[in-house]
Symmetry: C2
Subunit: 495 residues, 2 copies
């Protein structure tokens, strides 16, 4: 298939339901896919403006806008007098984070005792409210469609003023459940609107999923490192965590999970973040996703999939969730709009397979239905072409921010620093050399007005004490550059 001609562009567009986007946006999206799929590789020369005009029968100004969008998005690089070339990914000079060892026997499952440590970290950070926050996992408001959502909200309120004063719908607004079910189709997930349950962010979804499948004292297999919020949920529910080694490139080790499931038949569930794992940033290859679903089904263990970041993955095709391989309702799929669309709307959702009825009871008894207005705003935005256009821009901006930050880390951090540059999102997982303490770096950075996330909060063990999670929430500017230079200096000075 020739990806560079008109026909394929149009068919791609149909598939991505972006028919209402301006022509230059559609063409730019087309070339992003061409580059992401490898048809145009890093260093390749981009077809000329003239070639674009004749190939796609567009005007000069449209062709120029396409180039501008791609350059702004960091996909192309202009070389004076030579034309445009596909940009090489940056930061390749740093070695990637090492793969974990797979022990013959798993560690024992343990109750989580992290909340105090995490609270101390948060409390310390709050003493420096003006610090540049590189310790969070949410992009700045400037990366989200703030004005569009605001005007949508006002318009919807004018048309449905009783949204604030009428009891909402159990399970969530039908409009939003429908929009989510429809969009799930693009990721090969078939789910009925009635199977979608709207939650207060992805956190509540994971919480409900765990309550549905486990009782206090039960054991849950989790990735190591894992999002500290998940470990706090386990702690708050009195569940034991069994940490499974997780590859910074291919995700949860299926080999290690297999060993753990054999050694500990009391494991009730596995929680995995297959797309842009937090903090590693890795995306599980599809073959391994399918294997994970099959393994859990074979062992009769619930598989809880947490994916706040899936829409941020850069790939030629939408990244697939584990749920798309689920045949017997054994996967509880938890997702959220916090990272992809609007951190302030607190919207998550879940599709709970064979635990649907129990999850509905738990949700009803826990928080009833969600606040209505945000649901209607999200339904309308997701249902329109605007959502895909926003996501394209968001992914582009985040890539530029990630790469610039990774470049700066390569320049400023001590030799031996290792780093994963993930295919999406805003998180970098950085290994400090020579076992330097990231807790010490966290403490040293605060008085310099810089907040980071120390590796110690991502595991119930001590094993990530010389890692840090750095986010790239805002456009890379002098303040970011200076902060990373300062961090590098501080890291060099730490034992």
């Amino acid at each position: 298939m020739n990806l560079l001609n008109d026909e394929s562009l149009l068919s791609h567009d149909r598939a991505h339901a972006q028919a209402d986007a301006p022509l230059y946006e559609r063409l730019a999206a087309h070339y992003r896919r061409v580059i992401a799929s490898g048809t145009l590789a890093p260093g390749d020369r981009m077809p000329s403006v003239r070639a674009l005009m004749s190939r796609h029968k567009v005007s000069l100004s449209t062709a120029i806008q396409v180039f501008r969008r791609l350059e702004d998005g960091g996909w192309l690089q202009a070389r004076p007098r030579a034309g445009y070339f596909v940009r090489r990914p940056a930061a390749s000079k740093l070695a990637t984070v090492a793969e974990p060892d797979i022990p013959v026997l798993p560690e024992p499952a343990r109750y989580v005792g992290l909340h105090e440590r995490i609270s101390r970290v948060i409390e310390r950070a709050q003493a420096f409210p003006d610090a540049l926050n590189l310790g969070g996992a949410t992009a700045g408001a400037a990366l989200y469609p703030t004005e569009r959502l605001q005007s949508l909200a006002s318009r919807i309120l004018r048309h449905k003023p009783t949204l604030l004063t009428e009891v909402g719908e159990d399970g969530g607004a039908a409009e939003l459940r429908q929009a989510i079910a429809k969009r799930a189709l693009t990721a090969d997930v078939t789910v009925a609107p009635d199977d979608v349950l709207i939650t207060s962010g992805g956190v509540e979804a994971v919480n409900l999923a765990l309550r549905a499948v486990a009782q206090p004292g039960d054991t849950i297999a989790v990735e190591s490192p894992a999002f500290f919020g998940l470990l706090q949920i386990l702690e708050s529910l009195g569940l034991r965590a069994l940490e499974i080694p997780t590859s910074p490139t291919t995700g949860l080790s299926l080999e290690a999970l297999d060993i753990a499931l054999t050694a500990c038949p009391e494991i009730k569930a596995v929680v995995a973040v297959p797309n842009l794992q937090n903090p590693l940033g890795c995306v599980m290859p599809d073959t391994r996703k399918a294997e994970l679903v099959a393994l859990c089904a074979r062992r009769g263990v619930a598989l809880i999939e947490d994916e706040p970041y899936r829409e941020l993955v850069e790939a030629a095709q939408p990244a697939r969730p584990l749920k798309s391989w689920d045949r017997d309702g054994g996967v509880i799929h938890c997702a959220s709009l916090n990272k992809a669309l609007a951190p302030g709307m607190r919207l998550g959702w879940m599709s709970s397979g064979r635990w649907h009825a129990r999850v509905r009871l738990l949700k009803f008894a826990q928080t009833r239905h969600n606040e209505s207005l945000a649901q209607f705003v999200a339904a309308e935005f997701i249902g329109s072409g605007a959502y895909d256009r926003h996501l394209h821009r968001l992914r582009d901006k985040l890539r530029v921010q990630r790469e610039a930050s990774a470049d700066a880390i390569g320049r400023y951090f001590p030799a031996g620093t290792r780093l994963n540059l993930p295919p999406g999102g805003l998180l970098l997982w950085v290994a400090l050399p020579d076992g330097r303490s990231s807790d010490a770096l966290f403490e040293a950075a605060l008085p310099h007005g810089i907040r980071i996330a120390p590796g110690s909060i991502f595991s119930n063990s001590e094993r990530f004490r010389s890692f840090i999670r750095l986010s790239c929430p805002v456009p890379f500017d002098e303040r970011m550059d200076a902060a990373l230079r300062q961090l590098g200096r501080l890291a060099a000075g730490i034992a």
Copy 2:
């Protein structure tokens, strides 16, 4: 103190922070308090228009507006050629619901097994979506300040467009926590804004409170009858309920609670709704509230106070929550704006005494912070005089609706029907005569387009099977009258 002169009116007004209300509103509020306090009793003649003009130095038109407001609110009744008289409460012709027996030994604590029964009731009702819903506990949108909230929301969004796209504040927006802490002062509760935690409705607050003080398998003392949502929470958390007889006039029986605490030292907490108990509608006298707090403190048992309805109580002074007697942090106070201000905003809050830190962890791990916009809208509305004006109107309208419904029940229901007419809210608790089955009445009413709440869902026992909870959510009109007539006929025909 002469309540009828200018000075006391002004001082009252200061206390109620309504200085910005129009003069006739302030005067009407003054006379409502005079009537509620009994200074002007039912049947008393209201001072004349002329007397009002000279006493308060107001114009004829202002005086007339005062009379109109009081008449609309059902406080006064015009008698042709005789003037205005304080209205007698209606429905006095029905006997009140009988007081419960206080057994010498409590029933055993039992796990709650109500969810299926409740689900069946809800599912059956949903098959008749056009039915007049007298089974809910929320007033219709017309009783809430829909337009005002809508325009507030739009204005706030214009000024703070990033509310939708920025991460909210842990624990809730400072503005709302402050507004709530300030308002709590009017009910003799001193709480710092930092002690207030914003939740997803009152349901989440009670949920968090129970999770903070109890583990699965523990026993919780609850009122009998109790709000079915509370029983569902206990069921979802694997807690046992010990039902304490509750008086339809004075609330939770302290005698029975004392017996239960002696017989079952394993009781971890008591949950009580002291103001407008659901479904009974009773308000605990202040002396008993104080005794309940002291009893729980003496016994070392957590006291969880659920009060979605406090602001709907009609009394000369704001009704006091149990929390106002708490001296050692043993009371967890849970409240909500769902019934008083805006059912669609899903805002609740809690003040957790000595469990504050644990409740914060649980909330963070359960749903993080709330959606932001509704919090800012509520903060602004509560902080203004508009909230008190809205509550006056809401209470007036609900009283008229309650009394008209109670009148109609007296006219149409079979002889021997008993009824509580509560001092606020929208719920009537009705005892059918001769042990008629309310489940049968529920079923019989649906095909006639009428939905009620059968007593069977308000207890883990069978003891309320011939009770129904009827709500008065909308202005009494021909449809309501016809529905109650039909219900009466059906009740007469049931064995």
